[in-house]
Point group: C2
Chain length 235, copies 2
DNA sequence: TAGACAAAATCAGTATACGGTTTCTGTAGG
DNA sequence: CCTACAGAAACCGTATACTGATTTTGTCTA
């Protein structure tokens, strides 16, 4: 690890970002600069700067005791999906139009891995394959600003995604939508991709909302009213 | 100055961000952490972190000699507008639907200032009023993620906007589109707002492209082939 | 005058240090 | 057993210092 670029901050950032995408950081975890620093054998500053960047991008929040993954409110989920609905169907349609055979193969490979890991109930693998599928089709999006924005908005959900896949029924529905999109990609039909992505967006929003609602309820019953995460807003 | 929050980084960041929005930093300027630091009477690190944040958000690029405002390629402009086209018409429609009388007054006030400064050829005031108009209607957008994303995408154009307003003909067309949007807001017609914003997006894209094209040509003739701005990508 | 080359300056990246605030822990008292 | 409080620890924010890379500047030579 620690390869990307000659820059320590970028390296740490990439490492953390990957961990976040893979849901390898739980909301109860606390990321502390000094820990990360001497885990990588470097000083505090690069680690700190990487963390700060993740905060300014909205993935983490600063607490008085280390950095934590940002937890989404129900409003956050609705709002984020409103944006995703505007962008992803259109972007996916572009991808379908401009797809190369190589990328098509990548998408298919990712889809296969998704289905395999679903059948084996291998959640971590499912998570990873899911990320791969998304990254694969985003590669065919020629507009880097569009792709980056979409990537970012998807990554906000990392803390909820785990919960979505944990429930077999929800996961099944989710994967079903994904495979319909995949089929549309194979048909090279931009409009079909667009429509199915739109449908998928609504289904995904529902799924995330219901999972998060349940999470919040459980949390509320578990601890009547505690916890404090303040300081340093999302900018 | 230097008020926002008890945090030096945020303060510097807000200060710089405002300067950028106002096009108060030219592409030939170089922002250096040490300079900013002792201009504000603080140490390098907060200034540096603010600059780094602006880099990671895509407003600045790091060079081997200070930080500079990011210059947009023609492809950047097209790409950014593709995203804006997906988001702003929809968001403006929401704003029209949810507008309060207070915000409506703000929008009108900003519009008046836009027209006044245009008639007086006061470019800085025009720039500021333009920012105000945008911020006013964005206030009526209930989805903070949507509003933040739009704000960000608009701000990318700060380095080109100056050129757009410098040409009276272009500026006139631009303001005309704006006033049509304003009228639609006053009519409280979300659909009319949406349509006019869509139209405006295309007109604005054309304007920015032609201004930038001219800028690039002039630069090319001025210096046959020089300049180097590398190191530290947009992330 | 133009080119080569060395010395100096500039600036980003990284490391280390210190202060202050919040949270945790352990102990004493109810 | 629970609460109150004092001390300790954790951790963020900021400052300062060092290093190495790159660019600029100045000088010398053809």
């Amino acid at each position: 690890m620690l390869k990307p670029s000659d820059n320590l901050v970028d390296a740490i950032y990439a490492d953390l970002r990957l961990k976040l995408q893979r849901s390898a950081v739980s909301p109860t975890d606390r990321l502390v600069d000094t820990e990360i620093a001497n885990a990588h054998g470097i000083s505090r500053m690069p680690a700190r700067e990487a963390l700060l960047r993740l905060v300014s991008e909205g993935y983490l929040v600063g607490t008085t005791r280390g950095f934590a993954v940002r937890e989404l409110s129900l409003d956050d989920i609705s709002g984020l999906f409103e944006v995703r609905r505007q962008l992803e169907p259109r972007a996916a349609a572009c991808a379908a139009r401009d797809m190369t055979p190589e990328i098509e193969a990548e998408i298919t490979a990712a889809m296969n891995r998704v289905e395999l890991s679903l059948s084996q109930s291998d959640i971590p693998a499912l998570l990873a394959a899911n990320v791969d599928f998304r990254n694969a089709w985003l590669k065919a999006v020629n507009n880097p600003h569009m792709a980056a924005t979409i990537s970012r908005f998807i990554d906000y959900f990392q803390s909820v995604r785990l919960g979505t896949f944990a429930d077999p029924a929800t996961a099944g529905l989710y994967i079903d939508g994904l495979s319909r999109i995949h089929a549309a990609f194979l048909a090279h039909d931009p409009l079909m991709v667009q429509d199915r992505m739109t449908l998928f967006m609504f289904a995904a929003e529902e799924a995330y909302l219901s999972v998060r609602r349940r999470q919040l309820q459980e949390a509320a019953t578990a601890r009547p009213a505690r916890r404090r995460i303040q300081k340093r807003g999302t900018a």
